[in-house]
Amino acid sequence: MERRLAVVAQGLALARISLTNFKENNMAENIWEHPVAMAIPKEGYFKLEQGRYGPVYPQTPACYGFSVVGKVKPGREQAIRDYGKNIEDAVKGAPDVLAPLKLHYLRWVLFDVGSGLHFMYQGIFDTDFDKYLEDAIALFIETGITTVFTNLEGWPEDWKTNIPAVVKFFREHQFPSFLEYGEYPYVSADEIKKALKVKAALSNMLDQMQ
């Protein structure tokens, strides 16, 4: 009986340490506990901070993200739609294939509201857009996602040998949000997964105590 209590106590102590680490890593005490909405100026940032390729967009309650919008070249709609299945299969085959992008969510949309067919790539992720853009591009090239972009007007013809031109395309076709909301503000996907793992482990430990 004493030993069981000791194990439970150790488990709770470790859980407390984990929670402390979690809180420390999430900047302010309990910042994730209440939803937060944030209105953002037209430029996409509060204070101009230069990154290597242009202004840095701040972290928001919805972490980081971008909305890249481009006009679809005539006749290319199906090629873009087909790519949805490609990504589905790629992730099924190798679930970690998009891990470097540190994504929470991806939404790919095709729409025509009167000025021709457009494609929007919206992503919510945990990495700074300016900081890790080349790594993201390298991943796009590796997984073939760049094939989708080749169907958009303005995409550089020499994209294979001209990374700066590709960076320029993404920055020029990127539109910042003016409002973002997070139910569990600023929390990274890694932290969410950690918390779920800790919960599962505790739950398992309590079962063992029966």
Binding site: I17, R52, Y132, D135, L139, K160, T161, I163
Partner: protein, 455 residues
């Protein structure tokens, strides 16, 4: 696999001269003709990858590189100037804030006129020892007097510090242990798990890790076999560092461990991932073993080598995305007199002058500086920068992972201060001849070059 043109590549990033001393002369060209004349007279002294090392160690070699302003000051035409990358055109000083080089490291406090738009070139004079370096200095000064139109903006004297058994810097860490393996080059060291990197990651005109030859400045004759080198003059506050070790370790062993935890290697050079509890100088010196480790499989939580340590930040190995696109070649040495152990800091400037060589400053050097070095949230650490190269102002922390609870040092002091920096283009030999000639000769050189490559 491309064969490297070793007789056209400058030696600087490929081979080390047997030199224990050097002098960096930072130059300005007052007139185009004078700049070209100065360059013409030096080209035969420029070391190439094939000539350096092959000759007697008494041969003296020179390395020459230019800022974007320097290329213009040599009369390079606007069309060609426009084809160079944006970050190189702007120069390091203009991009200091982007890189996180702020506060005490900011160009406003730099020495030697390195932030000046008049900085046009660097001439590195290598020498076997200090007396020879002094002879080189006198000779170059005489040469500049003759030319009349090229001035020295500033200079820096470098020399190895004792003990001379292995290269090390003022904090006492062994250096020059890591060098990327380059495809097509015979490597001196063998890295266990690492595969060779494509030459195009360091030299222009070759296939890089994207599988293609990236777009390059024009004309080809100017950029082929060239590289970019980012220069940093970093003062090392030895007194501050030694005080920190004493404050954070009760015994010599504890202090050595703290020193190791900051760097990722013991001061002997032994990597913490392979030697987490005890130093192993023999392993450090063994080129086959000193780099034969990874992090993702062998040390994922950083219990051996902390995640935020200098070595792990500058080369996260298998825990980085597209690591093959983030390799760089480092060169440089120490300046200033050694501060013997036990002697209080005398306030004399001492430190390291370092060069980082790559084919794309923005993608390789600037990424490492802005993200790996100075992003406080690197790998989710929250409030930490590189302990040695990061801009430290006493408000950043340093985490040493430990079971069961990590150790967090709050308010890491600044062990270094950046005193200067610049971006240089390091041309091939043919490119140097091209730059040294007038427009008519340039056209014929260009045509010759094109014939050569298409045959």
């Amino acid at each position: 696999m491309d064969n490297l043109e070793t007789n056209d590549l400058q030696h600087f990033l490929l081979a080390r001269t047997p030199a224990l001393a050097a002098r960096y002369e930072f130059l300005t060209f007052r007139e185009v003709a004078a700049g070209r004349a100065w360059l013409s007279g030096l080209i035969d002294k420029v070391g190439t990858a094939s000539s350096v090392g092959a000759h007697s160690p008494d041969a003296r070699w020179v390395t020459l590189a230019f800022t974007w302003n320097g290329l213009r000051a040599l009369g390079l035409d606007d069309d060609s100037l426009a084809t160079f990358p944006d970050e190189f055109k702007q120069g390091m000083a203009a991009r200091a804030e982007i890189l996180g080089i702020t506060g005490a490291n900011h160009p406003d406090h730099w020495l030697g006129n390195l932030a000046s738009p008049q900085l046009h070139a660097i001439a590195i004079l290598f020498a076997r020892d200090v007396p020879e370096r002094e002879r080189c200095r006198t000779e170059h000064a005489r040469y500049l007097d003759q030319i009349d139109g090229v001035d020295v903006l500033s200079s820096l004297d470098l020399e190895a510090i004792p003990p001379f058994t292995y290269p090390h810097e003022h904090f006492g860490y062994r250096d020059r242990l890591s060098h990327p393996l380059i495809e097509g080059v015979d490597p001196g060291a063998i890295c266990g798990w690492e595969k060779p990197t494509k030459a195009g990651e360091f030299f222009i005109g070759y296939i890089d890790e994207s599988g293609y030859i990236p777009v390059a400045p024009q004309p080809d004759i100017l950029s082929r076999n060239g590289s970019y080198i980012a220069y940093l003059r970093m003062e090392e506050h030895v007194g501050v560092f030694r005080d920190f070790l004493r404050r954070n370790g009760n015994s010599i062993e504890e202090q050595e461990l703290v020193a190791a935890k900051l760097m990722g290697r013991w001061r002997s050079g032994a990597p913490l991932t392979l030697c987490p509890d005890k130093d192993n100088p023999e392993l450090a010196a063994d080129s086959k073993r000193t780099n034969d480790f990874n992090y993702g499989k062998m040390d994922p939580y950083g219990y051996g080598c902390p995640v935020g340590s200098h070595m792990r930040r500058m080369n996260p190995r298998d825990t980085a995305e597209s690591m093959e696109r983030h390799k760089m070649i480092r060169r440089g040495g120490t300046y200033g007199p050694a501060l013997p152990e036990g002697v209080p800091d005398d306030g004399i400037e001492r430190g390291i002058a370092a060069f980082v060589g790559c084919a794309s400053l923005v993608r390789q050097f600037e990424f490492a500086m802005a993200v790996w070095t100075n992003d406080p949230n690197f790998k989710g650490l929250g409030n930490e920068r590189d302990p040695f190269v990061g801009t430290q102002d006493g408000t950043f922390d340093y985490t040493i992972p430990k079971r069961p609870i990590k150790k967090k040092i709050k308010g890491l002091p600044a062990f270094t201060t950046i005193r200067g920096g610049a971006y240089f283009f390091l041309p091939g030999i043919r490119a140097l001849r091209y730059l040294a000639s007038g427009p008519q000769t340039r056209t014929s050189l260009q045509n010759e070059g094109e014939l050569q490559w298409h045959n």
